[in-house]
Symmetry: C2
Subunit: 203 residues, 2 copies
């Protein structure tokens, strides 16, 4: 049994390239293949959309040192923080911050909404990675429309049966560079795959 | 847009139940539906296998207070630790422990292997949740075969193209109660869905 992580990953990507029904070229290729590597689900080749120069803008922001907001602790746990730190970038969430919990309770809205509002006020947060909460993505779309934040990249990949697909269609129309997975599929592991793919593409 | 988490989850499970091509009955139903809720992928209804009274054994272990070993920090981040704590149970990983890193380097094996060996020596670790490393699952199978550990439940859901499917077939044959996803699919979010489903099924 192959036990060296680098060789396993290389062989995995070879298998994915061979089994993909269509050619994916340019910087989209390593990104989409990493999503498939993470999910073993080739449907992501059909539903992943990359708009507005999202890959270049995202890589640029990471390379320049920025904060990446994510909506779950799972995303934060999965991203390669050591590599991110080499560029002076970091990933954070604030859905469990005391002030966010208090404000959400007081206003009767979700912590996801209050969390994204707080993140949008932070000028150094250039990338948003949303893998769970459609409400977070809808709120982000409103904040972009109002000109209250203008992210370099929105990773919009909430998974689910209620509101997820609609929230991804909404963020497409916000005009910010974005990477989305149309329809129901997505999730924390997909968000992690996208962020890590961007990091690994930086020379 | 629906924003209350409980209502969103309830509606999601109703949609899943309606769209499932076959009836799933008994305690398997909430477990398989939670995996689909997490992935939006109905294929999990076909590939999820629950063997040896795995659900009852897993719930019993959690209810009695036990340690759950997992092979990624993403799994640890995603599990409902507050609810787990109510039963005196906890979830941990040790792949980043200094002694594990040192030993893996010295022996030239993966940290996943050394991590699972360390976990197997801990008598209070009754559940193993493996979402990433086929080598961890293969090593666990060997340790069970040798009688060095006898878990109440093995959650064997590594995702991937190299060794993942084989490792899940191997753990099936170890004879321990197990929940697996046959073939390539699985991952950290699937492991989290299974652990959380067990927790939520406890009255």
């Amino acid at each position: 049994m192959l036990t060296e992580p680098d060789k396993i990953e290389q062989l995995s990507f070879e298998i994915i390239t061979r089994e993909l029904k269509r050619d994916i070229t340019g910087p989209a290729a390593p990104l989409v293949k990493r999503i498939i590597h993470t999910t073993a689900d080739f449907e992501y080749a059909e539903i992943t959309e990359i708009l507005g120069g999202a890959i270049e803008r995202g890589m640029g922001a990471i390379r320049s040192g920025c904060r990446i907001y994510c909506d779950t602790k799972m995303i934060q746990a999965g991203v390669n923080k050591e590599r991110l730190g080499r560029y002076g970038s970091e990933i954070y969430t604030c859905v469990s911050d005391d002030d966010v919990i208090r404000e959400a309770a007081a206003r009767g809205v979700t912590r996801s909404i209050v969390g994204i509002e707080k993140a949008a006020r932070d000028r150094n947060t250039k990338i948003f990675a949303i893998g769970n909460a459609p409400t977070a993505l809808m709120t982000l779309k409103e904040l972009i429309d109002k000109g209250e934040t203008s992210p370099e990249l929105v990773i919009g990949v909430p998974v689910g049966f209620v509101g997820a697909a609609e929230s991804k269609e909404a963020i497409r129309d916000a005009g910010a560079p974005c990477i989305i997975t149309r329809g129901r599929k997505g999730g924390s592991t997909v968000a992690v795959a996208i962020v890590n793919a961007l990091i690994y593409m930086i020379k």
